[in-house]
């Protein structure tokens, strides 16, 4: 049995396209990346420059210390590698094969599940959570 995707109409949209904050968390955009930054923990002095300068939220912190990249969101801009002190060289932006991650692609407009998720998120995070069990 197939259920019809819940595609929102123009009547359902919030005024002015206003959406609840935080929806970008639900779209994995790491697929835009062309360079992959690699962090070498042994060289890291924990200055946290990379964390401060990351324009996304792709550098994770655990117990007050720098942790691994969140490659689902890192777009490979290379700013972290640029800001990493040259004396330590803990980050190198290297073009290489991407870590294997799940990516939501805008090309996925053909993917009904993606279309439905995008549409529902435009109106309500709560509804999207109920439908897709996303956190």
């Amino acid at each position: 049995m197939t259920t019809k995707p819940n595609i929102k109409s123009w009547r359902d949209l919030n005024i002015g396209g206003v959406i609840e904050s935080g929806t970008s968390e639900h779209f994995k955009t790491g697929g835009w990346r062309s360079k992959v930054p690699i962090w070498q923990e042994k060289n890291c002095i924990q200055c946290m420059n990379c964390w401060a300068f990351c324009p996304d939220d792709a550098i994770k912190v655990k117990d007050g210390k720098r942790a691994e990249y969140d490659y689902e969101f890192c777009k490979g801009c290379g700013i972290c590698a640029e800001e990493c002190p040259k004396t330590t060289q803990a980050i190198n932006a290297i073009k290489k094969e991407d870590p294997n991650i799940e990516i939501d692609s805008w090309d996925g407009a053909e993917n009904p599940k993606f279309r439905e998720k995008a549409a529902i998120l435009m109106v309500s995070i709560k509804e999207a959570k109920e439908k897709f069990g996303i956190k």
């Binding site: 929102k8 109409s9 123009w10 009547r11 949209l13 919030n14 005024i15 002015g16 396209g17 206003v18 959406i19 609840e20 904050s21 935080g22 929806t23 805008w106 407009a109 279309r115 995008a118 549409a119 435009m122």
Partner: protein, 390 residues
Amino acid sequence: MQKTIVARTGNEAVAEAMRQINPDVCAAYPITPATEIMQIFSTFVADGLVKTNLITAESEHSAMSACVGSAASGARTMTATAAQGLALMHEILYIASGLRLPIVMADVNRALSGPINIHCDHSDTMAERDSGWIQIFSENSQEAYDNLIQAVRIAEHKDVLLPAMVTTDGFIISHGMERLEMYPDEEIQKFIGEYKPAYNLLNVENPITVGSLVLTDYYMEHKRAQHEAMKNSVKVIKDIGKEFGKIFGKEYDMIEKYKIDDADYILICLGSTAGTTKVAVEELRQEGMKVGLVKIRVFRPFPAEDIVNAIKNAKSVAILDRSESLSTQAGPVATEVKAALYDAAINIPIKPYIYGLGGREIYVEQIKNVFKSIKDLKKTEPVSYLGVKE
């Protein structure tokens, strides 16, 4: 109601209306012939007559951007500009309407450069006719004052939520001193009511995203919603125009019909030229010619149905455009009136004119000649220039 009769220029009348509206925020940049509006209003701010936060921006692009930020934060927001200033706002005008922010702007009509010119024509407003703003034209200072007050209510109405511009003809209205009936401050406040914004960007209890990316999947749906809001605004404009009449004594509609009931020949125009045309109508009627005027007060949304109903029994119609679209067909007013007639399957001979560009004077005698030029009009003619040096 105690009305105060004063002598005011159009710019003074607009500034007085802004004082009585008492917006939360005004962001503006000076430009002839609109400079005075904010100059006068800034004295009201300095004298503590309004609680407005006045932002003197470094350009019109910045002024409109500040207006968008302010309106998205739930503040009642106004501005004023003209010509090049409006053109510099162009990019942000679409953002204001797309975000459905009920910003109200006084636009003093002035010709767009080049050649550089500071005098009246409607090219600035017409260049923004597809920007999603409601556009209301004024015939004189009184209408500018009345329209600005109504524009606040119209823009903020829950079925509309679109920005609105109220225009006055540069220098002709903006710097011409006229009799103005002003209404008491408290009556204006009562009429416009408290502003209840649709959303508030600064509410930390309920964080929202404003201006997010919408690609192939939903951009079109947002435009469809704006289309509906623009359609809804017709009823709102009419209702508020009637309500305004009940309270303040002068009713407003999408168009004004002047002596058209038995008119064989009708002229369509907008702005201050409507006043000149009324004199021409009176004089020609004394000579026995049955003529009338349809003044378009609201150009966006376009009152197609009202215009068709007003002119359908005329023998012929002249349309005056105070802007060039350089399509080689006709100006924007004539083009849209013709489209409306086609939709209604009515074929009346039309004579479109372009006149008054860059402040070129228009006289009663010229308008009388326009009426005479359509007396034996058998079929629609190509556009011609009125008052040009051949």
